[in-house]
């Protein structure tokens, strides 16, 4: 029976009273099911008040200014309830008005343009809606009546050519991104007048937009190829959990940054600075070390030198509200402080272990294949190694996600300085068109000041609501077929089930997710809502979070295990967990809700389970 075809048609639906439900659902959800017996049941998580919730104060006219390839970025509308929306784990802090440039350039332009150009046979990219400051995403289906066969034929023509050209084309893209970065980073903004700043802003925006064109133009075919290989492996009987291991152990610039931080840690210890780090609050470290003189000053010079190469990264993906390490060195100093408190992470050993584990996984897979199967497996493996999604996932973050928003941020901050703003980041609470108007002289800062204050308040209010934001909204099927949603966002059946039913900390003892980093470990839970608190992590703790992004990587050198609400086998936590040999389970959906700081858990990265052994006294 082809359930798929009827699943989303509203005409066949009936709503069932909650009393007849078979499994626990939170009271705000209801079931919708096919008239035919045995039809799949969708759960509807109503959008409810989110449809009418006012967006940022005085945001009228902020939407619909930017070109979208298929479907523009928006807030929730009543008809959105018929689609599946999932809370995007990339921005756990929420987005300020100017940071929604990501939604416009990344999702509404980058993903949609790439999906249409390639074309992606399965859909048209990603649509998103804002609930307050939080982003929900949804795949854009092909419109009714699309000639799938023709779209697939076009994909069939484009993919082999693209794969052949991949290593060279990525080098070209990287060179283009580096050239753009160098130009923007060198620009002396202080010397510019408003007109000059407006030019710089537009140039930074063009760079931002172009970076996301490249991002998704590369990501989709890499992902399709990986998923194809992974599917073939499954067909050949190679366990799904082993496929990621076949591609691990290739160095990336992110890991190089981690090595530099450990090298700085060694130098701090050698210079006798460990006691200073131990005795100083993270936020005061820079000032204390600068003022200490002697070896501390020398060390800070070294530190800043390293940051000049490796510090152009933010504590989150593509967000103009976030400073780079160069602007605010608190995060790397905090990491070094925590590194000083524990034995040295042996990068070479971890790297060799990852490589040895990769080769063992390859041998193990080959030993179970016939000669003919081995030939197909080897050809596929060679292809996905040449166009290695796992490696690219880390590599592109350095040149795109972690620094792409910085040039826009710098112009915005310079504008704030020049207009004498109350706070240096006031301008990230303006929408793009307001910032442009300010520079063009069409608006005055004084007139914008009240809305900036109101929006700060709005942002903070929604930031506090993040933990209670539903993980999924709208019409949630019991199974998602789109492998991108499954492998990247981790929308497995377990995830959907747990996300729909919510989590009662009293009831849930075991969480099930996707096993992505091997091994079993026990430790005390540390729930982190965003990277700002990364330095709170104690060595040997179990990191529990919505998801990790590249700036979280150094933490993997200290933690016992990692548990994420979101993310599949291709997510950042999965990739880093494998590289660092840290037991990691993703897509648990409700880990941050159910677990509390101090809980003792056992994380089984082979089976994909997280078991609570003891609850912290505080919570019980």
């Amino acid at each position: 029976m082809r359930v798929r075809a009827v699943r989303l048609l509203p005409t066949f639906c009936l709503t069932e009273p909650l009393a007849s439900r078979t499994t626990a659902l939170p009271p705000w959800c209801y079931r919708r099911q096919g008239a035919e017996r045995g039809c799949r049941v969708d759960i509807v998580v109503p959008l409810g008040a989110l449809v009418d919730t006012p967006w940022y104060p005085q945001s009228q006219g902020a939407l619909g200014r930017s070109k979208a390839a298929v479907e523009p970025f928006d807030t929730f509308r009543p008809e959105d309830e018929s689609r599946l929306w999932f809370l995007d784990f990339h921005w756990p802090r929420g987005l300020t008005p100017l940071a929604t440039l990501w939604n416009e350039d990344g999702y509404a332009w980058g993903t949609q343009l790439a999906a249409e150009r390639m074309p992606l046979p399965s859909g048209r990219g990603i649509a998103q809606r804002m609930a307050g400051t939080h982003t929900y995403a949804s795949p854009i289906p092909l419109p009714e009546g699309t000639d799938f066969t023709a779209r697939a034929a076009a994909f069939e023509r484009s993919l082999p050519r693209w794969l052949d050209g991949f290593p060279a084309s990525w080098q070209r893209h990287r060179a283009e991104l580096d050239a753009g970065w160098d130009r923007l980073q060198r620009r002396e903004l202080r010397a510019l007048d408003r007109a000059g700043l407006l030019d710089a802003l537009n140039e930074a925006r063009a760079y931002h937009r172009r970076a996301f064109e490249i991002h998704f133009e590369v990501m989709y075919p890499l992902l399709a190829t990986y998923l194809g290989f992974s599917g073939m492996c499954r067909q050949l009987g190679v366990p799904a959990a082993e496929v990621g291991r076949l591609l691990q152990g290739y160095d990336t610039p992110i890991m190089e940054t981690d090595r530099q931080l450990w090298s700085l840690t060694d130098r701090a210890r050698a210079a006798g600075l460990a006691p200073v780090f131990a005795a100083t609050e993270v936020a005061d470290l820079a000032a204390t070390l600068d003022a200490a003189g002697g070896p501390a000053t020398t060390w800070m010079t070294d530190f800043r030198d390293v940051l000049r190469t490796y510090g152009w990264r933010t504590e989150g993906s593509a967000d103009v509200a976030l400073p780079s390490w160069v602007e605010d060195p608190t995060p790397p100093l905090g990491l070094i402080k925590s590194f000083l408190a524990q034995p040295r992470h042996d990068f070479e050993a971890a790297h060799h272990a990852a490589v040895a584990d990769r080769e063992a996984a390859v041998d193990s897979a080959r030993s179970r294949l016939t000669r003919r199967e081995t030939a197909a497996f080897d050809a596929g493996l060679a292809a996905v190694r040449r166009a290695n999604f796992m490696w690219w996932q880390d590599d592109h973050n350095v040149v795109i996600d972690l620094r792409v928003a910085l040039p826009i941020r710098w112009v915005a901050l310079e504008v704030a300085r020049q207009v004498g703003a109350d706070q240096e980041d006031d301008t990230v609470f303006l929408f793009w068109h307001e910032l442009v108007d300010l520079l063009a002289g069409a608006r005055r800062y004084a007139d914008l000041r009240p809305r900036i204050a109101a929006r700060r308040e709005y942002f903070d209010r929604w930031h506090a609501r993040r933990p209670e934001m539903p993980k999924v909204l709208g019409t949630v099927p019991d199974r998602v077929d789109d492998p991108i949603l499954v492998e990247v966002f981790g929308l497995t059946e377990h995830y959907l089930d747990a996300a729909r039913s919510g989590g009662d900390p009293e009831q849930v003892q075991t969480l099930t997710g996707v096993p992505v980093g091997r091994g079993v470990a026990r430790g005390k839970v540390r729930v982190l809502t965003d990277a700002d608190h990364l330095h709170l992590l104690q060595p040997g703790e179990v990191l529990v979070c919505e998801s990790t992004s590249p700036n979280w990587t150094p933490a993997f050198a200290t933690i016992a295990a990692c548990v994420c609400d979101g993310g599949g086998t291709l997510s950042h936590a999965a990739i880093v967990g494998r590289e660092y040999g840290v037991p990691t389970v993703t897509a648990c959906a409700i880990a941050t809700t159910v677990l509390s700081d101090g809980d003792l858990v056992e994380v089984d990265g082979d089976r994909g389970t997280v078991r609570r052994l003891a609850r912290t006294a505080k919570a019980s």
Partner: protein
């Protein structure tokens, strides 16, 4: 017409026509060097001779007349009960019985063991279009001429069980005659281990994989579903072991005391979780399965026995063609094909990719 035909004397080209495919294939395989049990066939004409002499021919013809059209299941089972009972009430025609007894004694003298297997081999059985696997009776572990003759009659009579009747009526030519049947009397090999092997993967149909299943002793407990066998997968090209699953083999089939067939007894503790398919066994079974597959040019399943040694010998007691639905594509890496199938859930149709 001969009442008894020795497998050694059969010519491969007409063996199946003369003694049915089950015994005929053993003669064919013997001719290409595959080791098979020694023994003889009690021919279909011996069966016909017995039925004529016992007055069964007319009874059976009349019964066939009553089954014209599409009889109700209850009618079939009532008739089967009557026919079967009547068949077994008729003593075996003495001339036939004497010749079977004499041949049995000769077989016993040859193999220096008096335990045999008596197997039905219906003519037309196992034909590609109508598989009769397991419909007709077989008896393992019989001892003594009297029991052997009785078992031959049981095999003949097994054509008139309700199940066999139903199967026979499905065949387009059923209306004309009852299925003729030969019966094999074969040495029962002293089994160290036994099992089945498939020259193509039984579930995926992949032609480059051989699957071998086996247990200690005789295979009866596996056939009856009393025990799960160990399972190995081999590369059909080079015989390399790809997978091995050790099963908990709780039950062992062994000869009943006094030669009254097979019984299931608890497996001795140490053997339950011991791997039964050692490298030598897998090599021998893998080779023999490949030989048979190549000989028939078609995937086969094979029942094999490895004898207690020394030396251990790998003997094939049965081989059957396996029905595989449609050709199985060889695994080939094609990035478009893989992405379309596994990333986008599409399938290839004559008009292109569809979902």
């Amino acid at each position: 017409m001969s009442r008894v035909l020795w497998l050694d004397d059969l010519e491969p080209h007409d063996a199946t026509a003369r003694v049915g495919p089950k015994l005929g294939r053993l003669a064919e395989l013997s001719a290409v060097g595959v080791e098979v049990p020694r023994g003889f066939a009690v021919t279909a004409s011996a069966c016909a001779e017995h039925e004529g002499a016992a007055g069964l021919t007319d009874v059976l013809a009349a019964a066939l007349g009553r089954l014209d059209g599409t009889p109700a299941p209850l009618e079939v089972s009532a008739l089967a009960r009557d026919l079967h009972a009547h068949y077994l009430s008729c003593p075996v025609e003495p001339a036939v019985a004497a010749e079977v007894e004499a041949a049995y004694r000769e077989l016993v003298a040859q193999v220096r063991d008096d335990v045999v297997a008596v197997r039905s081999s219906a003519l037309g059985e196992d034909a590609r279009e109508a598989s009769f696997a397991g419909v007709f009776d077989s008896y393992l572990g019989l001892r003594g001429a009297t029991d052997v003759v009785a078992a031959v009659r049981e095999c003949w009579a097994s054509r008139f069980s309700a199940r066999a009747l139903t199967y026979q009526l499905r065949r387009p030519w059923a209306a004309a005659q009852w299925m003729p049947m030969a019966v094999g009397v074969l040495e029962l090999l002293p089994a160290y281990s036994s099992g089945v092997a498939f020259s193509a993967h039984p579930t995926t149909g992949a032609r480059d994989r051989i699957v071998v299943e086996g247990t200690f002793g005789w295979g009866e407990a596996v056939v009856q579903g009393l025990v799960t066998p160990d399972r190995a997968e081999l590369d059909a090209q080079d015989g390399r072991l790809l997978r091995y699953g050790v099963a908990d083999k709780a039950v062992l089939s062994t000869l009943a005391p006094g030669g009254a067939g097979m019984v299931a007894v608890p497996m001795p503790g140490a053997r339950r979780s011991e791997a039964v398919l050692d490298p030598g066994t897998l090599r021998a079974v893998g080779d023999v399965v490949r030989t048979i597959d190549q000989f028939y040019g078609h995937p086969v399943d094979v029942e094999w026995v490895v004898t207690q040694g020394p030396p251990r010998r790998c003997v094939v007691v049965q081989a059957r063609p396996v029905t595989i639905s449609g050709p199985v594509p060889l695994p080939v890496w094609d990035p478009v094909d893989a992405a379309m199938r596994y990333a986008f859930g599409a399938t290839r149709s004559p008009d292109g990719w569809v979902r």
